[in-house]
Symmetry: C2
């Protein structure tokens, strides 16, 4: 019963989002608005009215997707304006059952007779460069399908259903007014919702969609900020009504490099999207069903399935397929930060994108190589500046503003913590993404085009270890001078303490370097370059050998930083193994193979740290990335869990295994749930401290790897 009650406290937004539209219809958080949003850093602020009532006189019962608002009427009538909730009973979590699945989100209530669902289908998607118009329309239509239903087969009187919206700052108009003969409403040229024509559907608009006082020649009051579709389910029948929610952003949407949404090539306007979405709904419903079945068929726990589903929803909401005059441009926006193609997220989205649309990875890598790369100098211990090598920027811009060539929106100078440069980190990320892309897709032709880049990356990796080959041990020891002489490189873990934040002599980055050399070796072999592949293998061996030597046998762990007697212990020690493991490369898959000694020590490290009070939070039971920081990032935990479960199952204590429950509860609770998927979370409280509305949780798709 305790578990049941806990479930009933759930309150979380999910981003319902088509692929590539950087748009979401966000609902789910109890007693909270949401609705249509484009390019936002969090949920929109529209009231969403979804519910039912038995007969025309009884009270509406609504899902809790709204808050009390001021009526717009008073401004016209000159009366004092008062805040009011709609005249309806709001269903509490105990009154409904919500199932968030991989590509659907369904609410059921009234003994399962009432149902409402929004679909976010996604699947294998061909490269838009090679798509015909019809295929592109299907693949990148900026709409969502959904449905609302009631089983009134045993009812004696008709039941009414509602799907409606209230926007405090805007006014919807009937779709018929913009030339589309469907029951539905649109907000300007941007957002719309509709259903199929039916005698059982009534359009409503007014200051209060549940008590319309004013009706024009067609029964609406189009000044009203609330609109809705009222469906009637006759007694003795069961009806499901389709819903379509559409988004449209016309024209140039980016600066720096002017681009528009790719879908604007296939749809002239919002109304065409609505019509297409309704017309083609069977297709999208089928895709969503296939995805849902796929997740259901895994042996994952319900908590794990939920986490994957919630993460995928937020990822889709951050995706953006643009195009310029020449070609498509793939962007994943970084959740609340809205940085564009943050490279240290690209490397995490990699696994999801390689499964469904590997061209997105290629597109991003090409752009990094062409526009967002640079060559730096590094600092020797004696202070001299010497050539470093090739690397890549942290991101490509922020909030739809492409950054100048060779620069990110994030990296600032003269810093040793957050906002500093991530030269080595992003260098590894290009190598890892490129090798994983080419090996996974067998796209050797693409790899060949980037052969010189790959060589330059290898050289750059080695020089950052030490410009003098004789002094190399495989580990980053020289900071880039790009951030100035008083700067120091950081890692993606920018908001953590030194255990994960400092790049130099960092365990996380060292193992990631190892992973990069392993996949590089494989990539170079694919290119038919045995000498270079062998050199990469030697570099891998060198890192591994050095790492073995860094093991602290007294504690049975690796220190997080090989400097200053660091005492932190970190889970992302295993992160770098994820890539060769994902690719099934024998070097790491075999615990008793080439890297047996290192893998054995990593296993011991994990066993030692996956304990309450070290890297299992003593209060909450959650995994925490570092023993010395209570800021933990769930997407990275999910990535580590993939490695740990597959390679080091012996290290999983009962406490470690039980943690999915905690992680899922966090995301289901209002603190995280207010911003859909949250990544940076306080490990003791489950309260988010950053990375809200965030795409990176799709690392969890690795759990589905068989």
């Amino acid at each position: 019963m305790a578990a049941f009650r806990e479930e009933k406290d759930e309150s979380f937004h999910s981003q319902h989002a088509p692929l590539g539209a950087f748009a979401s219809f966000t609902i789910g958080l109890v007693d909270s608005p949401g609705g249509f949003g484009h390019a936002l850093r969090g949920p929109a602020r529209q009231n969403v009215y979804v519910g039912f009532r038995a007969g025309r006189k009884s009270a509406w019962r609504l899902l809790p997707f709204f808050a009390a608002t001021k009526s717009g009427e008073a401004a016209f009538t000159g009366e004092p304006s008062s805040t009011r909730p709609p005249k309806a009973k709001t269903l509490r979590p105990r009154d409904y059952r919500r199932v968030l699945d991989w590509a659907s989100d369904t609410w059921r209530a009234d003994r399962e007779r009432f149902g409402f669902s929004l679909l976010s289908p996604f699947g294998e998607t061909a490269d838009p460069v090679r798509m015909g118009k019809a295929e592109a329309r299907r693949a990148f239509s900026p709409h969502l399908n959904g449905w609302i239903e009631y089983d009134n087969r045993r009812g004696k009187s008709p039941v009414q259903l509602v799907f409606g919206l209230g926007d405090p700052d805007s006014v919807f108009h009937p779709l018929t007014d913009s030339g589309l003969a469907l029951p539905g409403f649109a907000l300007g040229t941007q957002f719309a919702y509709a259903t199929a024509p039916s005698k059982l559907v009534e359009m409503r608009q007014g200051f209060d969609v549940f008590a319309p006082k004013y009706r024009d020649f067609r029964g609406l009051c189009v000044l009203g900020g609330e609109s809705g579709l009222i469906f009637t389910v006759p007694a003795g029948t069961r009806r499901r009504f389709p819903l379509v929610l559409a988004f449209f952003a016309q024209g140039i949407v980016t600066t720096g490099h002017p681009a528009r949404y790719a879908y604007t090539r296939n749809f002239r306007n919002l109304e065409e999207v609505v019509a297409h979405g309704l017309d083609q709904r069977k297709h999208y419903e089928t895709v969503a069903e296939v995805r849902d079945r796929e997740l259901a068929a895994t042996s994952l726990s319900d908590d794990q399935k939920f986490l994957i589903a919630q993460a995928t929803h937020s990822y889709l909401g951050s995706t953006q397929l643009l195009c310029d005059d020449k070609a498509p441009i793939w962007v994943v926006n970084e959740g609340e930060y809205r940085m564009m193609n943050t490279f240290d997220l690209t490397v995490d989205h990699l696994f999801f994108e390689l499964r469904w649309f590997p061209w997105a990875v290629q597109n991003t890598l090409d752009r990094f190589a062409a526009h967002y790369s640079y060559v730096d100098q590094i600092r020797l211990p004696d202070g001299r500046a010497v050539p470093g090598g090739l690397s890549f920027t942290h991101d490509m811009g922020v909030h739809q503003a492409f950054a100048p060539t060779g620069h990110s929106s994030y990296e600032c100078d003269h810093l040793r913590g957050c906002f500093s440069h991530m030269t080595m980190e992003q260098l590894l990320n290009w190598v890892l993404c490129a090798a994983c892309y080419a090996i996974h897709t067998h796209d050797v032709a693409w790899l060949r085009k980037h052969r010189s880049t790959l060589h330059a990356c290898a050289e750059s990796m080695r020089r950052r270890d030490d410009p003098d080959p004789g002094k190399r041990d495989g580990i980053l020891k020289h900071d880039s001078l790009r951030g100035g002489r008083d700067g120091a490189e950081i890692t993606t873990y920018d908001s953590l303490d030194v255990s994960l934040g400092q790049a130099r002599n960092n365990l996380y980055l060292a193992v990631k370097t190892l992973g990069a050399w392993i996949v590089m070796e494989k990539a170079l072999k694919l290119l038919g370059l045995p000498a270079e592949a062998n050199a990469a293998a030697l570099s891998a061996d060198l890192v591994a050998q050095t790492l073995v030597a860094k093991f602290d046998h007294a504690s049975g762990t690796f220190p997080a930083v090989f400097e200053a007697d660091n005492q932190s212990r970190i889970i992302p020690a295993v992160e770098g193994l994820a890539y060769p493991l994902f690719l099934g490369l024998e070097a790491v898959v075999d615990r008793h193979g080439r890297f047996a000694s290192l893998l054995d020590l990593v296993g011991r490290h994990l066993k030692a740290i996956l304990r309450p009070g070290i890297c299992i939070d003593a209060i909450s039971g959650a995994w925490k990335m570092s023993s010395t920081s209570n800021n933990t990032w769930w997407s990275k935990i999910a990535l580590a869990q993939f490695v740990v479960r597959r390679l080091f199952p012996e290290s999983l204590s009962a406490a470690a295994k039980a943690a999915d429950r905690v992680h899922a509860r966090w995301q289901r609770s209002a603190a995280c749930g207010a911003f859909a998927l949250c990544d940076q979370i306080r490990s003791d409280t489950g309260v988010p401290c950053g990375s809200r509305y965030y795409p990176r949780g799709v690392t969890s798709i690795l759990w589905m790897e068989s």
Copy 2:
């Protein structure tokens, strides 16, 4: 001293707006954000930072255009987010002097050494149909000019100035990143601000523009939600730096009838607007200066001048020049309601538009005639429906959604109050606008094209009096059936009580009918139609004669409604006289002429009601439109004041004359001031109850008629 202190309580937003962009940069309300907004119903929510500091170490002193906000930094660093005011001293109203002029708004502080000004120039503007591209660029550039300055001639150390913005939901980018080599920032493709290149200007962007912690390769942190320009005024110098604020909305912005901004034909994007605005600033500064001098040269009181200036600013913010493939489309949006070309506002904006851009009136009238007219039936006392005649809809749509042909967004059916139909009101409005336009501009050719419309209007006016010519007395007595048998026509005074709200047998509408016949007579004469002109004259005489008979000699006033022993007394009894008076038509200009009896009685009416407790509010001293309602509309008061002062000066008691002070104080105070110009105001408290952010106050331009 009392007056002085009162002045220092002033706190009001003003809309700084270019002509036709439906956009404002709104600032002025004390301790309140504002900034760039497009198509909003009220002020935007950006912090605006404007101020100065002596030297680089002392505290900034800022005008109070911002509120404490949460820093965006915490989301990145994982630290708890706290609300903070900027590290600056906020100037209080007593610390600065603000002068809102007709086309400028200037703040001075620090013993007049510091100055900041935003210009909203406007002037005689040719018909866009006949404009060349260069002229159109000048006339409709969606930008504002401004400046910031400091007189440091006696200073011993440099003074710094700031103009900056903070947006809680968005991130600006440096203009250089979107290809414009000017110091400045832009928000997407929509809003930008810039200054001229100078060694004395520094660009700033970060989480706190006053204490930037992070700097990239060019000294900015482009993730930060705050940006600004820092100007240095060297010791011993006086410097004024130009500012340009630009707006841009690309693509189709309306539905129903898809249209784009006319300026998009002359500017490709935001950056072109910024460059133009800076380049051509002398032109715009000159226009603004001419306007300011023009207002200053009048013999109006300071309060009257302020009211005209504030009203004009809000009017400009509601104007929108669109175009479709064929022609320009003029729209004035109705303030917070955003109804498009509300006809009962068009007739009020008439005087302003005829002065500066009469083609706007013509454009609107053409569109009403072509798309937003209808022919109705009217209800006889015995319930029979008989043909009524031609009339026009209340408006053309709402919130950029054009309504279906023949319908407004406002009018609903089966009502007897607010939201009912305004058939007679809008019929008179077309006649008044058309006649005033043609007579004022001598555009007889246009009038000739609408000859049949004019005839139909005349016929419709007469039939609404009575379909039987023998029963006519000149006054509306038959409600349109367009709102149903249970509906009744209302007037523009929709939120007032029956004294002004009911159309049938209404004094206000009767005098307006008289005014319409008088100007129609003149128009028909211009058309060379003496018989029709004579018939119009007879209709005018008939209304006047009936009105004379309605006078209540006991009270020395006209009842507001000629029904049910109505006891209300109203100021808008004189409104209908404004049009012939504006045109200088002898019929009304001469108190001893053709309508001497009626004018004499109107004078007595005014004298009787312009007294405290009747139509002067006993508490506040303001003019109130109706003795039985405390909802008063300042724009309509201004219109009535024009008539009263010109035609009935003997009725102006000392209390009536003193009221401008009250009306100005309302608009200068925070209750109204929070929404720039407010129109519907509680006459006892000065608190607005509707019509915020409102364009209609430009009726006050009539005060400038010599």
